[in-house]
Structure formats: structure tokens, C-alpha cells
Amino acid sequence: MSDGVTEKVLAIVALVKRIPREKISLDSALQELGLDSLDTIVLLSELEDQFKISISDDEARAIRSVRDIVEGIRRLTGNLSADSAAAPAD
């Protein structure tokens, strides 16, 4: 499942939490990565910005792992290829 969406999400998580991308996998739990409630708010905002989507509070509350984010974004973008969207800023 290592495609455009996944790569982009991994990059955004790394950017928001300021951790090396290699330390993050699809199965990483956000809590394990050290994201607290405020980090999560910033992450959600960055995801909405980069993927041009709106993530509801209920969807946001259900997110536990990087995989949850990737799957959620696929749903919200209708499986739109992430490669067609702008790359995240480094």
C-alpha cells in the first residue's frame, strides 16, 4: 500500500512531529509517535490543507494510527491518487 497517499501522509506526520520519516510506518499508532491532542490538531489541519479535504470531528476522533489516516483520506478523496495533488512542503 506504499503509494502516493501513504508516502504523503508519512511525510506530513514526520513534518508535524519533527521526527525522521523512517521511524514512521503505516502501523504506527499516533500515541506511540508521541502525538498529543495539540499535535493531532495541527496534523489534522495540515492534512486538510495538503489534501484539500475537510475531516469531521467524529472522523478525527476515530483516528488512532497512520493507517487510519491513510484509509480516511482515501474515503474522503474517493480514492483520488495523491500524486495528482501538490507534494507536501518540506
Binding site: D36, S37, L38, I41, L44, S45, S54, S56, D57, D58, A60, R61
Partner: protein
């Protein structure tokens, strides 16, 4: 004069989603009627939430001359209207001598942010090149306090306290201490807020703490808070002076307790609020068993309500079984810097009228919030003492203790 004087509440004034005066406010609270409705003043089509507790049917022109409204942001208008009602209600005659010994202490989280938002839209979006020439005196957070002091000619200490959602409790608490110590012979204290602008609502949206439906404090399916607006003021006087002039005494403020969590900028702790409640009880020299009602901070967020429940359980132990607790934010919304003032008025009226206002919009109990939350319907109860809790982002806690009036 020094030492500890008893402090009486002799006047109340309110404007909020539940009404434009004390009578309307109290009627709604005792009927358990919520003022939460679709937001009118801001286009919500680009927001994830649509509901708020706005002041409806409000015409500034009915209360202020046109040249005055140019100087007054909505939050300062609410402060003035509440102060007018409270001072009229108190019957206090502010002679120049008494005016010099009268304090004005107001809470506000945001100041005149609706003026700032509108000005910046003109500047950045309309490219107008200028903002309203009186933007600064409208925006400054102390506008409510200074406008009250100017209108009523009070020349004693006047200031604004800004501690987010605890602002009004900190304001009332400091006014209480000034009257108790003899530093002031009277005080007008409370808070006001007008948070409805598109920019600020977007900021709250990003925090993900606003409910998409309504405010359901302590319910299992609560989904967050609902923003409110308004103002509320209390007139405080030394108990003996109030009695000597034959004033109507609503209740006494008996104590005030503060603490800070030093923990997290948004996540509440249990220990900080518990310490503030204990400090208020200790300051009032009353024991937990004398408290018969708590007006909770009760925001309806997933985080606050269980933490506040644990704090109440920690302080009151077995007495919790006989301690009704309600959140009137379920009706007047969360008016941020005005919240504590609205809730102080609700608590004072509960003590005076022997009616405990309910928690509206309650659905089903949450095992993590296992308190007697007075769901839906007000309850008749003669209570000796009551607390009103306010806990702010940043972990700044302020708790007021009230005692029912008895000569």
C-alpha cells in the same frame, strides 16, 4: 477598615442568549430552556458547526446614542448593559465619595475581537487602506471596565482580568477580596464576551472542541461545547453596609479559590481544579458538607466533564451522593470570559429562589461523569452554600463560594 468583612451581592445584571435582563435569564434557567440555536450573525456555510448561543433581537441603538456606539464593541456594550441593570437593581447611590471607593473588575477573554475581525476584512480583503479610526479603544480588552467606570463616575480601582474561560471568576473573586478587605466600599464585577466572528469561529473549529449539535454536559454522547455571548455583572457591598441601607441582599460571596495546573495548555487536570475548590472552601471557612449545589464548569467536551467529576469526587468524597451539580452552559452556552459571571448570577439566584437550575439537553448518564447533574428539570432545594467552578485553557482555575442570605 481592615480584616475580613462579609460581602453581600446586592445587584445583578445579565444579557445573554437566554434574555436581555435578569428576569428573562432566570425564567429560562428555571424552565430548563436552552438558548442554543443556529448561528445568525456569521455565515456558517464554511464551518463544521452551525449552532451557538447568541444574544437575539438586540438593537444597540435602543441602548446607546449613535456617537457612543462608534466607541463600543459588542462585548463592551454587553458589559455596560449588565452593569446598568445590576446597579439599578442594587439601588446603590454612587456619591462622589462612594464612587472613589468603588471598584470595577471585568473579565474578558477576547476583548473587542469582532471589531478587529471586521477591520482586518476591510484592510486585507477589501483593500481599503484603513480600519475604523476608533478601532483601538473598541478592541482593547479593558474597554468594558473603563466604559462602566466612565458611565457611572466610579473613580476607584478598575481593571480587566483575562484568564480565558476563568476570566469572570477571577474578576469577581478579586472584587470580592477588595470589598472584604476594606480596599473598596463597593464593586461592580463580572464579565462580557462577544466571540461571534468568522475568523474566531474558524479558530475554534480548528480546536475541534465545538459540538456539531448542542451542548450536553455530563452526557455519554456529549460532543463538545457551544459558544455563547453576553455579559453579567454583580454589585458587591460590605454586608453590614448593605443591611444598614436596607438593600436587597441576594446572597453572600463567602470565599474564592485559585490554582494553576502547570500541566498542559488545553488538557484539564484533576488536581488543579480540586485544589481550587478546596481553596475556595477554606477561604470561606466552610466545610464540604455545607455545599448543597455546584454550578459546574461543565463545558460538555469529552475532556472537561470526566476530569471535573473526578475533581469534585476528590474534594467531596461521600458527600457527592447528596450534592447536586449542574451545568447551565447547556442553556446559555460557553460565553468564555463572561461564563463565570453568568454562572455566578445563576448560582446566586439558585440560593435566593431555592431552585437549582438543571443541566439541559441531557441524554444518558456517562459512568465517567457519575454525578447528580439535575437533568432537564430545575429542582426545588434550600441550599446553605454553593460553589461556581471555572477552569480555563492553560490550567487556570477559579472557584467562587456563595452563602445563602441569612440576617
Amino acid at each position: 477598615m481592615s480584616g475580613r468583612r462579609r460581602v453581600a451581592v446586592t445587584g445583578l445584571g445579565v444579557i445573554c442568549a437566554l434574555g436581555h435582563n435578569l428576569a428573562e435569564f432566570w425564567a429560562a434557567l428555571r424552565e430548563g430552556r436552552s438558548g442554543i440555536a443556529p448561528i445568525h450573525s456569521v455565515d456558517v456555510s464554511k464551518l463544521r458547526f452551525q449552532n451557538g448561543a447568541e444574544v437575539r433581537g438586540y438593537d444597540p441603538g435602543a441602548h446607546f446614542e449613535p456617537e457612543r456606539t462608534g466607541l463600543l464593541d459588542r462585548f463592551a456594550q454587553f458589559a455596560l448593559l449588565a452593569a446598568r441593570e445590576a446597579l439599578l437593581d442594587s439601588g446603590l447611590m454612587l456619591s462622589p465619595e462612594l464612587g472613589e471607593r468603588t471598584a470595577v473588575v471585568c473579565g474578558s477573554c477576547l476583548g473587542g475581537q469582532t471589531t478587529q475581525d471586521a477591520g482586518f476584512v476591510e484592510l486585507y480583503r477589501q483593500d481599503r487602506g484603513r480600519v475604523h479610526p476608533l478601532s483601538i479603544p473598541r478592541i482593547m480588552a479593558n474597554a468594558g471596565a473603563c466604559q462602566i467606570s466612565m458611565e457611572f463616575g466610579t473613580t476607584g480601582p478598575a481593571f480587566t482580568v483575562s484568564t480565558a474561560c476563568s476570566s469572570a471568576n477571577h474578576a469577581i473573586g478579586h472584587a470580592f477580596r477588595m470589598v472584604r478587605s476594606g480596599e473598596a466600599e463597593a464593586a461592580v464585577a463580572g464579565g462580557s464576551e462577544a466571540p461571534f466572528s468568522f475568523g474566531l469561529l474558524k479558530a475554534w473549529e480548528a480546536m475541534r472542541v465545538i459540538a456539531p449539535d448542542t451542548c450536553r454536559p455530563f452526557s455519554r454522547d456529549r460532543r463538545g461545547m457551544i459558544l455563547g455571548e453576553g455579559g453579567a455583572m454583580l454589585v458587591l457591598e460590605p454586608f453590614e453596609a448593605a443591611r444598614a441601607r436596607g438593600a436587597k441582599i441576594y446572597a453572600e460571596i463567602a470565599g474564592f479559590g485559585m490554582s494553576s495546573d502547570a500541566h498542559h495548555i488545553t488538557q484539564p487536570s484533576v488536581e488543579g481544579p480540586a485544589r481550587a475548590m478546596r481553596a475556595a472552601l477554606s477561604d470561606a471557612q466552610i466545610c464540604p458538607e455545607q455545599i448543597g449545589y455546584i454550578n459546574a464548569h461543565g463545558t460538555g467536551t469529552p475532556g472537561n466533564d470526566p476530569a471535573e467529576t473526578s475533581a469534585i469526587r476528590e474534594v467531596f468524597g461521600a458527600h457527592v451522593g447528596r450534592l447536586p451539580v449542574s451545568s447551565t452552559k447547556s442553556m446559555h452556552g460557553h460565553a468564555l470570559g463572561a461564563a463565570g459571571a453568568l454562572e455566578a448570577v445563576a448560582t446566586v439566584m439558585a440560593l435566593r429562589e431555592h431552585i437549582l437550575p438543571p443541566t439541559a439537553n441531557f441524554t444518558e448518564p456517562d459512568p465517567e461523569c457519575d454525578l447528580d447533574v439535575i437533568p432537564h428539570r430545575a429542582r426545588a432545594a434550600e441550599v446553605e452554600c454553593a460553589l461556581s467552578n471555572s477552569f480555563a485553557f492553560g490550567g487556570l482555575n477559579a472557584v467562587l463560594a456563595f452563602r445563602a442570605y441569612s440576617a
